[in-house]
């Protein structure tokens, strides 16, 4: 008989880190399954997290598939399910089903320069692909990260970012000026135009708020990137994760299955319903 795709597997929260506080808090969770169930995923894929009694939320996996011991999710507190996840402690149990979605086509990107452009929580899906590239460093060309948030307090993975500087180029930004901030001040798209990454043999991956993505894409186009060189992720309301419930439907696509990763060339062909 076919497996029941709607039944989540139980997993334990093994580690919680508070990334961002304040009114829009972000926490990073690591989870381990109870039973070994061959949960293998590609970077950029998502999983449906369950808090029993509250419901399910589709969250992108922020760890790299190269690490097999745990799954990592960075979650912005937004609604019923994510609020309840934020109340969870280490050792608490949640449900996970998946993975869902297409993931980034990293195999096709070998020997290319990768430019990651993120805003706020948008670093989560990037984090997975970025660490995959770092893990197989010899397969890729130059790696660059351009990342920003409203304030320095809103940046996720702060300590990891400092570590990252040793391994690749990192450009950070904050939206408004603040004391002791030595890097770029302004929105992420402006930082992109400021740092002028070269489109030559490059792939740009951008995730973040829709308005940021829109202007980052515009900036990349201005810098000479072709539609096929730009990748982004789309998010829509999802319930089933397997292309049946119809919620994330855009044109002939179901984002949960056919997305969430799209090249700008592909995305342009879809109706703007995201």
């Amino acid at each position: 008989m076919d497996p029941n795709t709607y039944i989540p597997k139980l997993a334990k929260i093994t580690h919680i880190k508070e990334e961002v506080g304040g009114a829009r808090p972000i926490k990073t969770f690591r989870t381990q399954f109870f039973e070994n169930n061959n949960f293998s995923f590609k970077c950029g894929q998502c999983a449906m997290l369950s808090v029993f009694g509250k419901g399910e939320s589709m969250i992108s996996i922020s760890s790299t598939p190269l690490i097999k011991d745990y799954l990592q999710f960075s979650i912005l507190k937004m609604g019923r399910v994510t609020s309840s996840l934020h109340e969870k402690q280490v050792e608490d149990i949640i449900g996970i089903r998946g993975p869902y979605g297409n993931g980034f086509p990293v195999e096709k990107w070998k020997r290319k320069n990768l430019i990651f452009i993120g805003g706020g929580i948008g670093l989560a899906p990037i984090w997975s692909v970025l660490n995959t590239a770092l893990g197989k460093r010899e397969d890729y060309g130059d790696l660059t990260l351009i990342y920003g948030a409203r304030t320095s307090k809103d940046l996720v993975f702060k300590e990891e970012l400092e570590e990252l500087r040793k391994k690749m180029t990192v450009h950070l930004s904050v939206d408004v000026e603040e004391p002791d901030w030595k890097e770029f001040v302004g929105f992420v798209p402006q930082n992109v135009l400021d740092k002028k990454p070269s489109p030559k043999n490059a792939i740009a991956v951008t995730c973040g708020p829709p308005i940021m993505i829109k202007f980052v894409i515009k900036a990349l186009e201005d810098l000479g990137f072709k539609d096929e060189q730009i990748y982004t992720t789309v998010e829509n309301k999802m319930k089933c994760g397997v292309g049946k419930c119809g919620k994330c439907n855009i044109g002939i696509h179901y984002v949960c299955q056919d997305g969430p990763v799209y090249s700008w060339a592909e995305l342009k062909k879809l109706p703007q319903e995201y």
């Binding site: 149990i93 049946k244 319903e273």
Partner: protein, 346 residues
């Protein structure tokens, strides 16, 4: 297999099937509905069209996925809940409603099989009835590659020949039903076959409503995504769920946790029908809504049925039953909308 069954023997046949759950159309208040019965005399094949199609049996409005219990101590218990194992027969399925199930088959099939749907689908035998006269004022099956005697999705099709039914089986499931009452079924005579042909030719002619040149519609819709047409057409829409809930092909759903006890947390994860016509269908948690108005939601319904589904599965996601037209509280006429789409700008 082709047979004939006298009308008088129908209850006798049904009597042999009582190990199945048997559904038949029943008149309730002012409408018809499929209802389970154990009385063979209840079977009624002379009826117009049920308000809810047999979709409600194969893909019920409410499906329990799992039960959970999460106390503060110990691990949460999660128990999978599956539909009960009980074979069923639905009598009097209209060919359009059966064909609709071949579309939901596609959606609930694919790489991830929906075992709730398939369990019910596989244990249900569909006994259809040809529409010798259109059962509904807004029938238009012929326009969407259907017919009043289409066999798609059916296991058995009955055609009323006056005092008897012409019986055709198309699947093993269907033949099994006949084999349970072998003596009742006779081989059709040449006259029976001739009568059947005549009835079929006539039945197609009786369908009055139609869409001309439907092939022109999908490419036209592709161009019309940003057209102000949708604002105009959706002016009278009320954003209720009738057109989609009653559509035999619509399959969208929602999944929610419903709580029966809060300490310990006990409840069920439940699938319920949902519709693209409700504003909360696509609304993100942030309040952002990719389809924020009636116009975009009407467009989604039409485009999904006559463009996206066609691109994905090479079929219109519509079987011409006419429910969405007849039951729309403000008389939005799908055929009129499609006519306008086809002729838009020309």
């Amino acid at each position: 297999m082709q047979k004939v069954l006298t009308k008088k023997s129908l209850p006798q046949w049904v009597k042999k099937l009582l190990s199945y759950t048997i559904y038949t159309p029943v008149e309730e208040d002012d409408h018809w509905n499929f209802v389970a019965t154990d009385n063979p005399e209840d079977i009624n094949l002379d009826y117009p069209l049920t308000t809810l199609s047999p979709k409600k049996i194969i893909f019920p409005q409410r499906e329990i996925f799992l039960e959970f219990c999460d106390s503060t101590e110990g691990n949460p218990e999660v128990k999978e809940v599956l539909p009960a194992e009980k074979s069923a027969v639905i009598f009097g399925v209209r060919p359009c409603d059966a064909k609709a199930l071949t579309f939901t088959d596609k959606v609930f099939g694919g790489d991830f099989k929906d075992i709730y749907y398939w369990k019910r689908r596989n244990q249900t035998t569909l006994v259809g009835i040809s529409c010798n006269t259109p059962p509904y004022t807004n029938c238009f099956c012929v326009s969407v590659n259907g017919s009043p005697y289409s066999k798609e999705g059916l296991d058995i099709l009955l055609t009323d020949l006056g005092d008897k039914y012409f019986v055709e089986t198309y699947t093993k499931k269907g033949e099994k039903l006949l084999n349970l009452a072998k003596g009742l079924f006779k081989s059709p005579t040449a006259k029976d076959k001739k009568d059947l042909e005549k009835i079929r030719i006539d039945s197609k002619k009786k369908i009055k409503r139609q869409i001309k040149n439907i092939k022109k519609i999908p490419p036209k819709l592709k161009e019309m995504f940003d057209s102000p047409f949708w604002d105009e057409e959706s002016m009278s829409c009320l954003r209720c769920g009738i057109c989609t809930y009653l559509c035999p092909t619509c399959h969208c759903f929602d999944i929610n946790d419903e709580i029966t006890s809060s300490s310990p947390i006990k409840g069920k994860r439940i699938r319920t029908w949902d519709t693209c016509q409700f504003p909360d269908f696509t609304m993100h948690s942030s309040g952002h809504n990719p389809r924020p108005d009636k116009a975009s939601r009407l467009r989604q319904r039409i485009l999904h049925k006559f463009l996206y589904f066609v691109d994905r599965y090479q079929n219109y996601q519509c079987t011409g039953c006419g429910r969405c037209i007849s039951l729309c509280p403000v008389g939005i006429d799908l055929l009129e909308v499609l006519d306008k789409v086809r002729d838009y700008g020309s």
